[in-house]
Symmetry: C2
Subunit: 192 residues, 2 copies
C-alpha cells in the first residue's frame, strides 16, 4: 500500500517511518465499483474499511425483505458490521458500494497487533469509537424525539455530502420511513 495513505487515515498522529511502514503493510487497498456488495450477511466479519473515495452503505435486510440502512460512509469514514467485527462473529449487515470507491481494508488481527506495537493507535481507535458512539446516541434520540420530517431535515443538514450520492429510498431506509413518505415530506418542504 502507498504509505501516503497512512497520513490520510491517521491524521494528527505523529508516526516514525518505521511505524508508518508497519502500518502500511497492515492495510490492503481496494478499488470497488458501484453496485458491488463487499460484505454479505451471515459471514464472519474480519475487516473494517476506511473510505478514501466513493460512498457505501451498511444495511440490514429483515425477514420480509425490507432494507434498513444502519450507516452511510463517505471520504474519511470507516465502515463495517462493527457488532460482528468486534466480537469476531458472523455479521447481519451487508455493505454495498453506492459510488465507485477506493477503500483501505484492515483486519481485526492487524488492528490488535497495532494496539500492542503502537499504543497511540489504540488511543486513535478509542477516540474514533467515542465519536461513533456519540453519533449513534444522537441518532437514537432523533428516532425517539423527532418526527419523520424533522429527521429528514436534520439528515440533510448533518450529511449534505451524503445526500447527493444516494437514492432517496436509501435515505428513507436510513430514516425508518417508506420511499413514498419521504417523497411526500420532500414535497411538503418544497412547497412551504
Amino acid at each position: 500500500m502507498e504509505e501516503v495513505i497512512v497520513s490520510e487515515i491517521f491524521k494528527n498522529i505523529t508516526l516514525s517511518s518505521v511505524e508508518i511502514s508497519k502500518i502500511s503493510s497492515g492495510f490492503t487497498k481496494l478499488e470497488i465499483k458501484k453496485g458491488v456488495i463487499i460484505m454479505k450477511a451471515n459471514e464472519f466479519v474480519l475487516h473494517q474499511y476506511f473510505v478514501s473515495k466513493g460512498c457505501l452503505r451498511a444495511f440490514f435486510v429483515n425477514q420480509q425483505g425490507k432494507e434498513h440502512t444502519v450507516q452511510f460512509a463517505v471520504k474519511d469514514w470507516w465502515i463495517s458490521d462493527y457488532t460482528a467485527f468486534f466480537s469476531s462473529s458472523k455479521g447481519i449487515l451487508q455493505i454495498e458500494c453506492l459510488q465507485d470507491a477506493t477503500l483501505y481494508k484492515l483486519s481485526r488481527e492487524n488492528m490488535e497487533r497495532f494496539y500492542v506495537e503502537i499504543p497511540k493507535l489504540e488511543s486513535f481507535f478509542r477516540k474514533k469509537m467515542e465519536k461513533a458512539f456519540a453519533g449513534f446516541q444522537k441518532r437514537i434520540l432523533g428516532n425517539l424525539a423527532l418526527s419523520a420530517k424533522e429527521r429528514y431535515v436534520t439528515f440533510t443538514h448533518t450529511y449534505p455530502s451524503i445526500e447527493q450520492n444516494v437514492k432517496n429510498y436509501h435515505i428513507a431506509s436510513y430514516l425508518g420511513i417508506t420511499t413514498e413518505s419521504l417523497s411526500r415530506i420532500r414535497k411538503e418542504i418544497a412547497t412551504s
Copy 2:
C-alpha cells in the same frame, strides 16, 4: 474508596497493588437515594458513573417537555451523557436515580490519567465502548425494523432485570411510544 471495588469494576484485569491503589484514589463513592437527579442538562459533564447497586436512567427532555430515555443502568453498568463526557462539553441528558444506588464516579481527567499510566485500562475502556456501540447499533436496527410490540418483547427479554425496577412509562419512553400504547401492547400480549 475501598479497594475491593476496583476488582468489581475491572474484572478480568490483573493489577498490581500499586495500580489498584492508584485506581482507587481516582474513584469517588456515592450513595444516591431514589428520585435524585445526579446529572442535569446544560451543565458540563465531567464524570461517568459505575453502578454497583441500584438503577438509574439517562433521558432527554424535548421542547414539549416529553421525556425520552436513552439508557438504563443497573449493577455493573456505566452511565453518563457520553456525547458530552467525551467532548468535555455541556450535556443534554439528565440522569435520575430510580432505585437507591451505590455509584463510583470517575472524572474524565482521572480516566485520561489512567490511560497513560496504566495502558491496559485504555484497552478495557475501548472494549467497553465497543460493546456499548454494538448495543446501540442493535437498538437503532430495532427501532428501524421492529414494530412497537416486537421492540417491547425484545426489551423484556434483553433486560429482564431492568423491567422489574422501572415504571412502565419509563419503558415506554425508552421504546419511543406512549404509556397508553405500551399498556395496550401489554394487554394484547397477556390475552394471547
